[in-house]
């Protein structure tokens, strides 16, 4: 075993470590985004649809959903992970490791997605809704087949924005042994006084964010016919 002094990189030793960390990060982020994104989309549609003056106005349903989101969202993620540990244990079977991190991340992601979807739909053109209704479209049809396609570009950008948030959460997952770039930076960079490790982890995350944002922009441009 090689003993390394601070601020030294041995690629034969650190390289595979980075690769594993990138893999874990991507696993956490992608699983969370897919699960949280889909469930969050439903939550967002429900939030938007039951808002006052909206298609399925229902103050009770909206009140309950809105309150849940408002309770969960402000909790700092690092606290949230530990706070719902018993639930994680119940659902995942363990409270440490990558999957144990994915569970709280997904819950947080659902809440954030719900809000982003709701906000983007609120910005839809009321006239378009009226036109579709005047043509005989059902309320559900208006919501799913008119409003979502109309707001697709901002929704895509919303998901790109979420990616950053989820990446941020994944870094904190290191605290419960979730692995990934965050944990690598904390244990090998911060705790061993090896700033290079931290900086490289940060650089990789920056590149990831850039790639995803570019992809989001490109997709949004393709769907935005303005």
């Amino acid at each position: 075993m090689t003993v390394l002094a601070a601020n030294e990189i041995d690629w034969s030793y650190h390289g595979p470590m980075f690769l594993t960390a990138i893999g874990e990060t991507l696993q956490m982020v992608l699983v969370t985004l897919v699960l949280g994104g889909v469930i969050g989309l439903l939550l967002g549609l429900a939030l938007y649809g039951t808002r006052r003056g909206s298609l399925f106005e229902n103050r009770w349903v909206y009140g309950v959903l809105n309150t849940i989101v408002n309770i969960v969202r402000p909790i700092p993620f690092i606290i949230f992970i530990t706070a719902i540990r018993p639930l994680t244990l119940e659902v995942i079977g363990k409270s440490l490791g990558t999957w144990a991190a994915i569970f709280p991340m997904t819950i947080m992601c659902v809440m954030a997605t719900g809000r982003i979807i709701e906000q983007n739909l609120v910005a839809s053109d009321a006239g378009v809704i009226e036109a579709a209704r005047a043509m005989g479209a059902s309320r559900l049809h208006v919501l799913l087949r008119v409003l979502v396609p109309e707001q697709l570009a901002p929704l895509i950008l919303g998901y790109a924005f979420l990616f950053v948030g989820v990446l941020d959460m994944s870094a904190m997952a290191g605290a419960i042994g979730g692995g990934g770039l965050g944990q690598l930076a904390l244990t090998y960079g911060y705790q061993r006084y090896n700033d290079y490790i931290t900086w490289i982890a940060v650089a990789i995350m920056i590149v990831l964010v850039q790639v995803v944002q570019q992809l989001g922009n490109w997709l949004a441009r393709r769907t935005l016919h303005r």
Partner: protein, 440 residues
């Protein structure tokens, strides 16, 4: 009295309003129809002209009432059922002319009884907030009436279920001021959308869309997106989309108000074509009397939720009964000198000023040769305008008559046209119509 249209039986009502009332505000139920809250506000809320509106604040400290100046273009959105401290301000996009009652309620449509005949182009004219947008939305039940009965093509709209409404709506096309096209869909997909809703096959849709685009004259734009089109082209798409399912009624809500005059003319020509060639009944909502003049057979004038005057367009133009109607007609024609114009005319023309107006049943021209033949009189045209309403000559000219033959000339003119005597500079008389207008 509507002008006969090919393929239509004139005189049979297709839309009937019987004592219809629609109230906004006050004890408003949760909105079942989303998507036009802001327009509700513009149509239904806010300050009445020339008065103050009471704004009720339901708060922890009880109910307080404050007065708002009449110029405040703000809709007071009361809190929902059950009260609470909710108070929202929605700023509508124009001046308002609505009636408010003591409880903060707004009667957007106030005991309206109206018949619209099959095959005619019917105009509803009024200022912003007069209730005309609400009135037209009662026809396809985007708004539900609070009382009264609305029968469309034999169906009682006020009694229809949600499912029944959808089939009704597929028989009523609607075009909007802001076009309301789907920005994420191409022109062809926009026009095909109502056909998808109606369950048409892809092949049938494609064929029908091609037909429609040709009818409105934008075949080359099928693959474009709405954002790539001009205003006039967008409205053509809107009209094609509204016609897709071959409706028997077309509702045009300020369809030309966002367009320039030339494009307006093109779109109005298209609406005339829709009415003439397809025999579709069109209800035109507008604040521009020139639109009524150009396309409508009959017209109803709305003011503060009420229909104050209605009839064949020519009759209404020739003999307006209400001050509001007169003001609207003047905005379209400018043929009759207002009090300020008369004032200026008198400075340069001391003789007797008379306004000669073409009549519905009278001659189609004003014969000055005949009126002055053999008389010692001079007749100068000092103001006026002649145009066409319903393809018939219409308008008035103002003459300055002087000399010994003035009285005889006046009498001759009065035989074939309506003549209003404004008197001379020395002995002025005022135009009774403007007097009425000023009083109101």
């Amino acid at each position: 009295m509507s002008v006969p249209t090919p393929g239509a039986a004139p005189g049979t009502p297709i839309i009937t309003f019987t004592d219809v009332v629609k109230v906004f505000g006050g004890r408003r139920k949760p909105g079942r129809e989303a998507g036009h809250g802001a327009r509700d506000a513009a149509d239904g809320g806010g300050a009445a002209q020339g008065t103050t509106t009471d704004l009720r604040l339901d708060g922890p400290g009880g109910v307080r009432t404050i007065g708002l100046p009449a110029t405040t273009d703000a809709k007071i959105a009361k809190s929902g059922p059950g009260g609470g401290a909710g108070l929202g301000l929605v700023i509508p996009d124009g001046p308002l002319d609505v009636s408010t009652s003591a409880g903060g309620e707004v009667r957007a449509v106030d005991h309206v009884t109206l018949e619209i005949d099959r095959g005619e182009v019917f105009g509803v004219v009024g200022y912003s907030g007069a209730g005309k947008s609400t009135l037209v939305r009662l026809i396809n039940a985007l708004e539900r009436a609070d009382s009264g009965r609305i029968v469309v093509d034999g169906k009682d709209v006020t009694a229809l279920s949600e499912r029944g409404l959808r089939s009704l709506r597929s028989d009523i096309g609607m075009v909007f001021q802001q076009f309301n096209l789907f920005s994420a869909r191409t022109v062809a997909a926009n026009v095909g959308y109502p056909l998808r809703l109606a369950g048409w096959s892809r092949a049938d849709r494609r064929k029908r869309v091609a037909e429609l685009l040709e009818f409105v004259g934008i075949t080359d734009k099928a693959r474009r997106y709405p954002a790539q089109l001009s205003g006039g082209q967008k409205q053509r798409v809107g009209i094609a989309r509204a016609l897709a399912t071959s409706p028997s009624i077309l509702l045009a809500d300020e369809a030309t108000s966002a367009l320039d005059p030339e494009t307006t003319r093109d779109v109005l020509d298209l609406l005339r074509k829709v009415n003439r060639e397809l025999g579709i009944t069109i209800v035109v909502i507008t604040h521009e009397m020139s639109v009524v003049q150009y396309v409508c057979h009959r017209v109803a004038v709305m003011e503060r939720g009420k229909v104050v005057e209605s009839g064949p367009v020519y009759s209404v133009f020739a003999d307006p009964q209400q001050p509001a109607t007169q003001r609207f007609i003047q905005t379209a024609l400018h043929d009759r000198p207002g009090p300020d114009v008369v004032e200026r005319l008198r400075r340069n023309h001391p003789g007797r000023l008379v306004v000669v107006t073409l009549q519905e049943e009278g001659r189609s021209s004003i014969d000055l040769t005949e009126a002055t033949r053999g008389l010692d009189v001079s007749a100068h045209v000092v103001f006026g305008g002649l145009t066409e309403v319903q393809d018939r000559p219409f308008g008035s000219i103002t003459l300055e008559l002087s000399g010994p033959g003035t009285d005889e000339t006046f009498a001759r003119l009065a035989r074939h046209a309506a003549v209003t005597d404004l008197g001379t500079s020395a002995a002025p008389r005022s135009d009774v119509r403007w007097e009425q207008g000023a009083r109101a």
